[in-house]
C-alpha cells in the first residue's frame, strides 16, 4: 500500500543494565498512513518514547539492542547505514520532544537552530534559509518572527518554544512527524493552541503523525488510530472511536475509568490498583495480569501462566486478553465503560 508511510514490524528494544535486561519495547508492530495520526498511549515507562526513538534511529546508548523491521517510505531502516538514516532524519521524518526547553540548545538562538536544520539537508544560502525559517515561524503562529529568531530559547514562553520545536520538525516538510508528548509541559489553553496548529499543518502538508501522549482527551481529539502500550507491549490497537467505545482490554478500561470526567458526574474514580511492572522481570503470563481485577474470570489461572497474543477483534482492532467476548461485554457494561449496545 503506497499510502502507508511507516510500517513497523516486531520491533523490540532491549537495554542491558547492571540489574538485568530491560525489555523496553517488546515485539511492537504498527502502520501509519500519510495524512493520518496514530496515537500511542500508555502508562509512564511503557516504552512509548523508546519505540519512537528506535524508529528515528536515535536509540544510541551502548547497551541497547534494536531488532525488528522499520519500513519507512519503502526503505528498511533497521540495519541501514547510520549515515543514510541520518540523512532521512529531519528531512523525511522528524520528531518533537516532550520538554521543549531542554530539547532546544540553550546557547544558540532560535534562528541559528532552525537555519541549521535547513542547511544540513540542503545547500541553501543563509539569506534563503533565514527567509524560509521566518515563513515557517509565521506559519506556526509566532508573532514578530524576525525578531524572535534572534532570541534564545529561555526568552520564549513554553508555548512558543513548543511552536519552535514544531517549526523545526516541519521545516523540511517531512512525510512523518513523531510528536512525543508535545503538550504535556503546557497548560490547557496553550495545549489547545498547539493541537490546533498540528492539525492545520497536517492538513496542509499531508504529514503522517505519530502522537505519543498519556492524555486520552488529546487522543480523542487528534487520533485516527490508537495503540495502547503496557509493559513494553502493544496491548490494544484500534481506530480511535472503537478504542473509546469498544475497548477490549482491561488495561484500556482501567485507563478510561481513571479519568476524572469534566462532563460526567461520577464521584468516585476507578483507578487501576498497583504499579506498573518492572521491565526486567516481566510476568510470564499477561503483562497486565498482576494488576488485572478480572483475571479470576479466566479459567485455570491462564492469565498468570500464558501470555495472550495480540488477537484480532476486527480487521482494524486487535487486543491482548484471555477474556472472551461475552465476558468483556459483561464487564464493560457493569463498569460502564465505552458504549455498550
Amino acid at each position: 500500500m503506497s499510502d502507508v508511510i511507516l510500517s513497523v514490524k516486531n520491533l523490540s528494544v532491549e537495554f542491558a543494565t547492571e540489574d538485568g535486561v530491560v525489555h523496553a519495547v517488546d515485539n511492537v508492530s504498527y502502520e501509519v498512513k500519510r495524512g493520518q495520526t496514530l496515537a500511542i498511549v500508555g502508562e509512564s515507562g511503557s516504552g512509548k518514547s523508546v519505540s519512537s526513538l528506535a524508529v528515528m534511529g536515535l536509540v544510541r546508548s551502548n547497551n541497547a539492542t534494536v531488532t525488528g523491521e522499520v519500513h519507512f517510505g519503502g526503505q528498511e531502516l533497521v540495519g541501514l547505514d547510520p549515515e543514510e538514516v541520518r540523512k532521512l532524519r529531519g528531512l523525511k521524518m522528524a520528531m518533537i520532544f516532550q520538554d521543549p526547553l531542554s530539547a532546544l540548545h540553550p546557547f544558540y538562538t532560535i534562528g541559528e537552530q532552525l537555519i541549521e536544520a535547513v542547511q544540513v539537508h540542503e545547500k541553501v544560502s543563509d539569506g534563503d534559509a533565514r527567509a524560509r525559517v521566518k515563513t515557517m515561524l509565521d506559519r506556526v503562529g509566532i508573532a514578530s518572527a524576525e525578531q524572535r529568531m534572534d532570541e534564545y530559547p529561555h526568552q520564549l514562553s513554553g508555548g512558543m518554544r513548543q511552536r519552535v520545536m514544531i517549526a523545526m520538525a516541519l521545516i523540511n516538510s517531512p512525510e512523518l512527524l513523531i510528536a512525543d508528548e508535545p503538550t504535556t509541559a503546557l497548560d490547557v489553553t496553550v495545549q489547545a493552541q498547539i493541537l490546533e496548529l498540528l492539525r492545520d499543518l497536517q492538513k496542509e502538508f499531508g504529514t503522517a503523525i505519530v502522537l505519543i501522549t498519556h492524555d486520552l482527551g488529546v487522543v480523542a481529539d487528534m487520533a485516527d488510530d490508537v495503540m495502547v502500550m503496557y509493559g513494553g507491549q502493544a496491548v490494544e490497537q484500534a481506530p480511535v472511536r472503537e478504542l473509546f467505545y469498544q475497548p477490549q482490554m482491561p488495561y484500556t478500561w482501567g485507563l478510561l475509568a481513571s479519568i476524572p470526567q469534566m462532563h460526567t458526574s461520577s464521584l468516585k474514580l476507578d483507578p487501576i490498583p498497583g504499579t506498573p511492572p518492572s521491565l526486567i522481570n516481566l510476568p510470564v503470563g499477561c503483562v497486565f495480569a498482576p494488576r488485572c481485577t478480572h483475571k479470576d474470570l479466566v479459567a485455570g489461572g491462564l492469565c498468570l501462566t500464558t501470555r495472550p497474543d495480540l488477537g484480532a477483534v476486527s480487521d482494524t482492532h486487535a487486543s491482548r486478553c484471555h477474556l472472551n467476548e461475552a465476558q468483556r461485554i459483561e464487564i464493560r457494561r457493569s463498569r460502564n465503560i465505552g458504549k455498550v449496545d
Binding site: T189, Q191, A192, G217, A220, F244, M262, H263
Partner: protein, 344 residues
C-alpha cells in the same frame, strides 16, 4: 455554617528582581500573588485553578507562611498568622500542613520513609501513644503503604506511593487544614485516581479542610466544593463547583473550560473550543487594567485601563470582570466547533 478555618484577605506576594553583586539593588518585582481574598471552612475543599505560573503555589505557600507574604492578612483558626512570632508559628504548623507539588523532590532522598513520616512528631515534640514507630506504621497503613517498608528510601517507591508518603506526613498530626499543591499533576492517570480517592477518604474521616491547587480542571471538579480561578496572581472568579462548571461568567474561565479535551472522540470533536491568542504575560510586567485583557476576545479600552475588582455577582459567586457573560445558554445554541476567538 461554622466559622472559617482560614480567612485570606488581599494576600500579596511580590518577588524582588535584583541585580548587583556585593550591593544588591531591586530593579523590579514579580507580582506572583496580587491580592487574593477568600475564606475556607472546616471540612470543605477549595479548588485553586489557573495556568501554570499564575501564582497558585506561591499563594499556597504564602498562606502557610512558608513564604513571607508582602501584604494582606491571613487569619488561621481565628488567629492572625502574619503577626505570629517564630515559636508560635512553629507550633501552629501542627494545625496546617502542605502536600507538595512534586512527589520526587518533596521527600528527602536520604531519609527513610519512617523518619519522613515521623518527622512531624519529632519536630513538634509530640509523643503519640505507643511510640512514634507505631503511629507511623498505622499512618502508612492508612494511606495504603505497607508498614513493613518503614525503613525504605523514597527512591524505592513509585510516584503514586511517594505522593502517599507526603500525604501521610501531612496528616500525621491531624491538622485542620492541608494545602495540596498539585498533588496529582506529576502522576499518571491511573495513579492519580488512586491518590484522589485517598484524599477524599481522609477528608471524610478527619474533617480536614483542603485548599486544592491544580491546573487540571477535571481533577478540580472532581474534588472541590468551591473553586477559585486565578490568572496572573489574581482571582478571576470564585464560586461553587457546580456553578463554575455549569454557568461560568468570566471569559477566562470559559476559555479554560473549553480547552480541556474530553476523552470521548465524538464529543471531543463536536466540542466548541475557544482558542486563546498569545501566551501568559510576564508577571513582572503585567498588563495594565485587567490582566486578562491582552488575551480576552471581549476586551475593550476600559479593560486595559481600569482594573476590575472581585465582586459578588450573585450569592457565593464572585467575579472580577467588566463584562461577565453567561454562555451556558449560548453553548447550547452554538454548534460551531473550533471557533477561534481571538483578541484582535
Amino acid at each position: 455554617m461554622s466559622a472559617p478555618i482560614l480567612r485570606v484577605k488581599d494576600l500579596q506576594k511580590h518577588f524582588p528582581v535584583t541585580s548587583g553583586n556585593l550591593f544588591k539593588k531591586q530593579v523590579g518585582e514579580v507580582r506572583a500573588v496580587d491580592g487574593l481574598t477568600f475564606d475556607v471552612y472546616p471540612g470543605e475543599t477549595l479548588g485553586l485553578v489557573g495556568e501554570s505560573g499564575c501564582g497558585k503555589s506561591t499563594a499556597g505557600r504564602s498562606m502557610l507562611r512558608l513564604l513571607e507574604p508582602t501584604g494582606g492578612s491571613v487569619e488561621f483558626d481565628g488567629q492572625d498568622l502574619l503577626a505570629m512570632g517564630k515559636r508560635q508559628l512553629v507550633s501552629m504548623r501542627r494545625e496546617m500542613q502542605m502536600i507538595f507539588q512534586d512527589p520526587y523532590s518533596s521527600l528527602n532522598p536520604r531519609h527513610t520513609i519512617g523518619s519522613i513520616i515521623g518527622a512531624p512528631f519529632d519536630v513538634q515534640g509530640v509523643k503519640p501513644e505507643g511510640g512514634t514507630m507505631k503511629a507511623v506504621q498505622s499512618l502508612m497503613e492508612r494511606v495504603g503503604l505497607n508498614p513493613e517498608h518503614y525503613n525504605r528510601y523514597p527512591n524505592e517507591f513509585s510516584g503514586g506511593q511517594r505522593q502517599r508518603i507526603g500525604i501521610a506526613r501531612a496528616i500525621a498530626l491531624k491538622p485542620k487544614l492541608i494545602v495540596c499543591d498539585e498533588p496529582v499533576s506529576a502522576l499518571d492517570v491511573s495513579i492519580q485516581a488512586q491518590v484522589l480517592n485517598l484524599l477524599d477518604d481522609i477528608q471524610k474521616e478527619f474533617g480536614i479542610a483542603y485548599i486544592f491547587v491544580a491546573h487540571d480542571l477535571s481533577v478540580v471538579r472532581h474534588i472541590s466544593d468551591r473553586v477559585a480561578v486565578m490568572y496572573l496572581g489574581k482571582i478571576m472568579e470564585l464560586t461553587t463547583r457546580d456553578q463554575l462548571y455549569s454557568a461560568p461568567l468570566h471569559p477566562y474561565t470559559h476559555a479554560l473550560l473549553s480547552a480541556v479535551p474530553i476523552a470521548d472522540p465524538d464529543r471531543e470533536r463536536a466540542r466548541e473550543r475557544i482558542i486563546l491568542n498569545g501566551d501568559l504575560p510576564s508577571p513582572s510586567n503585567p498588563p495594565s487594567g485587567c490582566v486578562f485583557s491582552t488575551r480576552c476576545w471581549k476586551a475593550t479600552d476600559r479593560c486595559s485601563s481600569e482594573i476590575p475588582v472581585l465582586r459578588e455577582i450573585s450569592a457565593g459567586h464572585q467575579i472580577a470582570c467588566h463584562f461577565p457573560e453567561d454562555r451556558s445558554s449560548a453553548t447550547a445554541s452554538s454548534t460551531v466547533s473550533g471557533t477561534d476567538f481571538t483578541a484582535n
